[in-house]
Every structure is written in C-alpha cells, then in structure tokens.
Symmetry: C2
Amino acid sequence: MASSTHPNAPCAACKFLRRKCIQGCVFSPYFPPEDPTKFANVHKIFGASNVSKLLNEIAPHQREDAVNSLAYEAEARLKDPVYGCVGAISVLQRQVLRLQKELDATNADLIRFSSDQNTLMMPQSSGNSLQNPHVLPPNYGAYSWNYNP
Amino acid sequence: MASSTHPNAPCAACKFLRRKCIQGCVFSPYFPPEDPTKFANVHKIFGASNVSKLLNEIAPHQREDAVNSLAYEAEARLKDPVYGCVGAISVLQRQVLRLQKELDATNADLIRFSSDQNTLMMPQSSGNSLQNPHVLPPNYGAYSWNYNP
C-alpha cells in the first residue's frame, strides 16, 4: 500500500526488504518511507517476521501503539545493547524509591512541626493535630525489575 | 556445551532449535535446560539469530545481564503485546511525576509550618528559618516516553 504522503513510494519496510508494497501491507501504515530508520531499528532488534506476526495478532486500532513501543524498545536496545529500555525501568524504579523515601521523611518532619505547633498553641488550640493529606498509598514498585545495572 | 547441572543435556536453546549443543555454544551459559521457557520467550520475540548476533557483539562478562534484560522484555511483550515493558516505563514515569508533585506540596506545607512556628516563637527565636533538607534536584524524567497508554 502506498504512503499517503508519497503515493507512489513503497513503505519503509518494503523498501528495506526490497519487495513490492502491496495493498493491505501490514507495515505500510506505521512505517512511512520518510522515516527509514524506524523500520531498520525494529527489524534489526525484533526481525520483520516477528513484527509482522505480532501485528497480525493484535487489533488494528492497537497496532500503531504496538509499533511505537517496539520502535522505542529497539532504539533503546541499539543505544544500550546490554540493558535496552530495561535500564530506564531500573533508573525509574530507583527514582520512585528515592522520592518515596524523601516524601516519608518530609511527612515525618511535617508531623513533628505540627505537633510542636500544637504544643506552643495549646492554650488557644482546640487540640486538632494536622491530618497530612500528602501520604501516598504504598503502591509504588508494581513493576519490579530486580536487576540493578 | 553441556550444562553444569545436566552434564549430558543440551542447553534450552539447542534443545528448542533441535541442534547439537557444541562446545562454546553462545546460548548455553544463559539458557539452562531446566528453564526452557526463558529461551522460548526470547526466541519468540527477538528470534534466536538476533539474540546470537547481539551476544556476539557484547563482552562476555555482560552477556548474562543482556540475556536477563532480553528475557524480561520478552516476557513483558508476551503479557502485553501492545506496550510490552514500555507500559512499565509509562507507569513508573507517572509515579515519579505524582511523587514529585506530592513532595513539592509537602515541602510547601513544611515551609509554611516553619514560618508559622517562627512567628509564634519570635520573642524566643534567633530567627533561623527551617532549611528543608528534602528538596530534590529536578532530575526526574531523564527517560521520556511520551506515549501514555
């Protein structure tokens, strides 16, 4: 199927694979000829055959998201052949843990300050202590990657 | 190369591919016969040939990490064919942003409480305001995945 921006040009996948880009080509909507690197990366890491199989197994309306996530993974793997985008997961998991720790410490400070203030204001205060609205539920770390590069 | 735990057994990759597991097999150290799923997953998503090429392009001491990150990506893609482990990146990025927002709000509360306390304690205080140690540098979001499934 020819690209809408280049009506006579084969898609980047068919051009790369040197084959005719036929009507209904599974790659054509997601690999325009003006971005040959996107297909080259995905092909190098996953292989055109695996990508084609994967696209045929999912609903058409989800294929663009699938291709974009594959392209993201492929680019990450080419930049970092050892960890790929799992390196990003590891970095983000550490950020989440660090932020949660910082938040816990800041909340503890806040509770201490609130308690101190209540003590100072005791004669005027009705005795209400601060109900801190910033305590998060402990649902971080839902995705666990136990390898720490 | 035979596995150390099963001296006569071919590795999971060679067993899957029905080929002789020779001395120096690139897969053997990382795909033991007792875990056939690990290779099956990696082969289904990346293809044995691509994995073999990748392993041969990186230093031997990094190959185990590479295989484990590939296995992690493959398993994530099989569980979620549309987003794979990029879904985890998206979830973690949102967690980082939410935690940073919560931390900013808690820090603002803490500064306000500190200021209030200083006002209350003015006659006794030397005028030191709280130096909040919990403000983080704005280095979150180093890995950006702009697609939000």
